[in-house]
Symmetry: C2
Subunit: 209 residues, 2 copies
Amino acid sequence: MEYPSKLLTEVIEEIAKLPGIGKRTALRLALHLLKQPVEQSQNLGQAIQKFRTGIKHCRICHNISDKEVCDICSNPVRNHQLICVVEDIRDVMAIESTGEFKGVYHVLGGLISPLEGVGPSDLTIDKLIQRLQNENVDEIVLALSSTVDGDTTNFYLYRKISNLPVHQPKISIIARGISIGEELEYADEVTLARSILNRIPFEKSIKQK
Amino acid sequence: MEYPSKLLTEVIEEIAKLPGIGKRTALRLALHLLKQPVEQSQNLGQAIQKFRTGIKHCRICHNISDKEVCDICSNPVRNHQLICVVEDIRDVMAIESTGEFKGVYHVLGGLISPLEGVGPSDLTIDKLIQRLQNENVDEIVLALSSTVDGDTTNFYLYRKISNLPVHQPKISIIARGISIGEELEYADEVTLARSILNRIPFEKSIKQK
């Protein structure tokens, strides 16, 4: 489709580079901006540029941050001997919003995926090993997605960490099982089997909210 | 949800102001930009600002344009005595892409909508009347959506134009009927009734591709 203006063509092409946004949606968004005050477009344009050029990754956990070391890693109240390994920063936000984890994080930046050509060296695994060598970590919690790539990464990390010549942390993995509010008959067999194998004492469960 | 960075919070808030984009999608888009080269974010941010501040509306037809007068209005080959009235610039693009209209346009910038508080004075109707008074227009084609607001606007324009003390243009309206490729049994009754009432000679139809 041909657009009546070069400026419109340019903005549509740039917006349509975003994932899940086609040229038709990009046109709709551009025309929407045209009906809003000029400031909105200026704020949006500047926020995008400032975000991309100004954002930093925490040099300890690789979570994104405005500072060299993120708020979680620099918080003395958190348990720095307990590290939760996650795929990306959205997982950090999801776990933080539960309010149930008092340790710190390590953001891998992805999962090992032979199909997509992502190997261990593309992730921050070496940095995790360094952390384990420099600090006395008690426990590593693997909190990756329950997918083939997640399992591959879990096994790789498990082998790597348990072969460390230094102090060995305990390695745990988040529980797989029936979701809260899920009906048993709709659960898949593997999940159901795991939830039976990994059953916990009832008294423990009623103490959790 | 709390974000680990002020820059991230800002960009998410600005992106989520766009229609149909929530905070979750905005976060996904921001994290996507983070994985792309810095230039992409800079180009996107600049394109949005340049578009909003640089775009003009053609002073004749109100289509958006980079110039004072758009390419269609300044094209001597087009029939300037034939004006197609549309709601917004997307309709101009849609009709242009058919290649079947050789006249010029008038973009209203919306439809009369008592429910949404849009009155005739919010649209470019006065400018259309001016055009009719200054130029000798042969025909006005009303090409508005087939909705309540579209019909209201059609009637308003019809009354206004047919009461003009100057040269009266012919007023026509685009055909309503069964879409090409549509099965008859799934068409609604009103459309089907219109397509029967407004039937055309078969010979005329086969000459159209």
